[in-house]
């Protein structure tokens, strides 16, 4: 099927009334999640995953994807108005966005964030449509060694980009791999580390782990801090940026789009990193770098475009290779599997309706977000005024119900609570949860690929180096692992977390 035909089929699927409703629900919930500090897209998608079980796979994936890119839109609102990022990818928007609001320019800041997000989100989807099919074709040539090496590269990139010492990120990835081993060994059928708990024979569920690590732990950390958040009291006017604002923003938006898209494609990259990189690039090439942090519209436009373009890019490795690029994609991978689909190179051939329907729904979702975001800003501001002591019991309640309704199992709820406590200590001792989640998802696939490769080569581990694609991937991982040992690069790598800590 040619490209135009595929797109038309995609629109046919996405424009079905039921799918439009799911898309709308997804972007609306996503924006709300992005607006509310302390509840990110990972936790929200985990929470709402069980609600898609009654829907068709296409509708379910359309809604979950909508939550993801909707959250990127919503996150900027809290950054600009409250100086608290609604989710991690909007951290950098606080720097200039909040300053603009203090100067009485909250309207243009919110407006350019919405338009920038729309432009980047749409271009990101175009990129996804163009890049995914040839990549999927190429991926058909991948055997177990190539898949193993690709997954190792994904994990290495994520640990390389993680903040803090690399040994901590690698440790988390190794722990995630171990957690992924719990349950039935798919090759021999024997049970491992289940402690005679029946529920563990299918392995540790991704959703309880993610909700615990990112949702419960966040609440535990928030309640022990006495931060009062006050919404900046200003009349939000002139949401449509003027010509000057557009002239200042259009190139940062386009640059942010390119940066976000390509960093989003890389397994382990994503919205957070790309927003920081975009900000750094804009500051670097600006004629007035000293003014960044004082209310420059470029400091809002670039990062907001980057984090939205990254969402489109992040779908590429998932849909073409079956490799999730980040924690959100890992949950989407789980969701697709629950719906009986295997993301990967065959997805486009076996389920073209799902692939093209989901992709084209992102176009429609971006339009909905633009229409939604500007008039609803007043509503989001009202929601932001709900005090956290009233909000957090409800967040916890959603987590508890979400974990229970997965399999009607108390054990899964207990796993979530335990991982909430573990995540709390991880954050206290500065261990990042993302490598663990990615490794947990990739673990079973990685193990199968590793063991099949070794069976294929009669136990010769050099198979990973003698096949060209695999060798390139493994060598890339090796370089990434060795790079931090080079002092100059080590220093460069330290800049990002330092900037984050200062914010």
């Amino acid at each position: 099927m040619d490209f135009v035909g595929s797109m038309l089929m995609g629109f046919q699927v996405a424009l079905q009334p039921g799918n439009l409703v799911f898309c709308f629900a997804g972007v609306l919930i996503g924006t709300l999640v992005g607006v509310l500090p302390g509840l990110g897209p990972v936790a929200a998608i985990s929470l709402l995953l069980p609600t898609t079980f009654h829907a068709t796979p296409v509708s379910g994936i359309i809604m979950l994807a909508g939550i993801y890119y909707g959250a990127m839109y919503g996150g900027s609102t809290t950054s600009i108005l409250v100086n608290i990022p609604g989710e991690a990818a909007s951290v950098v928007t606080c720097l200039d966005g909040y300053k603009m609001a203090r100067q009485g320019r909250a309207g243009p800041a919110l407006g350019i964030a919405a338009f920038g997000s729309f432009i980047a989100g749409t271009l990101g989807v175009v990129g996804l449509m163009l890049v995914a099919p040839p990549l999927a074709e190429m991926a058909l040539k991948f055997g177990p060694p190539e898949y193993f090496s690709l997954m190792i590269l994904g994990l290495t990139i994520l640990t390389f980009l993680a903040s803090g010492p690399m040994w901590k990120a690698l440790l988390m990835a190794a722990f995630g791999l171990f957690l992924g081993c719990i349950g039935i060994d798919t090759l021999t059928g024997s049970l491992r580390f289940t402690l005679d708990i029946v529920e563990l024979s299918d392995g540790i569920g991704l959703v309880p782990v993610v909700m615990g690590l990112f949702g419960i732990s966040e609440v535990l950390l928030n309640v022990e801090q006495s931060t009062e958040r006050s919404v900046f009291e200003t009349k939000i006017k002139d949401l449509l940026p003027n010509l000057r604002d557009w002239a200042d923003s259009i190139w940062p938006i386009l640059r942010g789009t390119v940066i976000g898209f390509f960093l989003g494609v890389l397994p382990g990259g994503g919205a957070v990193i790309s927003s920081f990189v975009s900000y750094a690039v804009e500051k670097k090439i600006s004629k007035h770098p000293e003014k960044f942090g004082t209310g420059m519209i470029q400091g809002v436009a670039g990062p907001e475009a980057a984090n939205n373009a990254a969402t489109g890019g992040a779908f590429i490795p998932l849909l073409t290779l079956g490799i999730p690029a980040n924690a959100v994609m890992a949950i989407l991978l789980g969701a697709m599997m629950i719906h009986g689909m295997q993301p990967g190179p065959m997805l486009m051939k076996e389920h073209p309706d799902l692939f093209w329907g989901a992709v084209t729904s992102m176009y429609l979702g971006n339009v909905m977000l633009l229409i939604l975001n500007l008039p609803l800003i007043g509503l989001w501001v009202k929601i932001l005024k709900v005090p956290y002591p009233i909000l957090f019991p409800l967040i916890l309640l959603f987590c508890l119900i979400g974990a229970y309704s997965l399999n009607n199992s108390i054990v899964e709820v207990l796993i979530m609570v335990i991982f909430g406590l573990i995540g709390y200590f991880f954050k206290k001792y500065e261990y990042e949860g993302a490598p663990l989640v990615l490794a947990l998802v990739l673990g079973p696939m990685l193990e199968t690929a590793l063991r099949r490769s070794l069976l294929l080569s009669a136990g010769d581990p050099t198979i990973f180096l003698t096949r060209p694609i695999s060798a390139v991937l493994i060598l890339s991982s090796f370089c990434l692992l060795v790079f931090p040992l080079v002092p100059w690069i080590g220093k460069k790598r330290a800049v990002l977390p330092k900037a984050e800590a200062e914010d």
Partner: protein, 154 residues
């Protein structure tokens, strides 16, 4: 605790865990390289945890020589509130089946609203009952999730 720093302590705990995983993996059978056994990957994961935590201990010790000391992770924080939340979560887990979803949810929300940052009783009662009814409506009736029913049928 003042002679060691946070990373040394956490890395040491990871090392113990890593060694534990290595030991626990062996009975599952490591197999051979030509035919890896069930315990093969967990063994490698345990080995990796032990290796990276050892690197962590060395790294943290070097930092200690540069002046990195133990930093309390609870200082200046109202950690008792997170303890209350944790206790409420565990209580919810163990009381959900005996008490049923609605009552357990009302008690859970009410308890948190009253204890963590005490709200007025009308807010607590309205919040508890409202959350129980709304979540029952959304999840049990609309989404048809099968939530546990207590002895009283709800």
């Amino acid at each position: 605790m003042h002679s060691v720093n946070n990373d040394q302590v956490s890395a040491a705990l990871w090392l113990i865990l890593g060694l534990g995983i290595i030991i626990a993996s062996i009975p599952y059978g490591l197999g051979t390289l030509a035919s890896p056994g069930t315990g093969f990957l967990p063994f490698l994961a345990g080995l990796a945890i032990s290796l990276f935590s050892s690197i962590g201990i060395v790294h943290a010790t070097l930092k200690q020589r540069q002046g990195a000391r133990w930093k309390s992770t609870m200082k200046g924080l109202m950690w008792k509130k997170s303890l209350i939340v944790m206790a409420a979560l565990l209580a919810y887990v163990f009381l959900l089946k005996p008490l049923g979803f609605s009552l357990c949810t009302a008690l859970f929300v009410g308890c948190l609203l009253r204890t963590v940052q005490p709200q007025k009783w009308p807010v607590v009662i309205a919040g508890a009952i409202g959350a129980a009814i709304a979540s029952f409506g959304i999840f049990e009736i609309w989404l048809q999730a099968q939530l546990p029913k207590g002895p009283w049928g709800f």
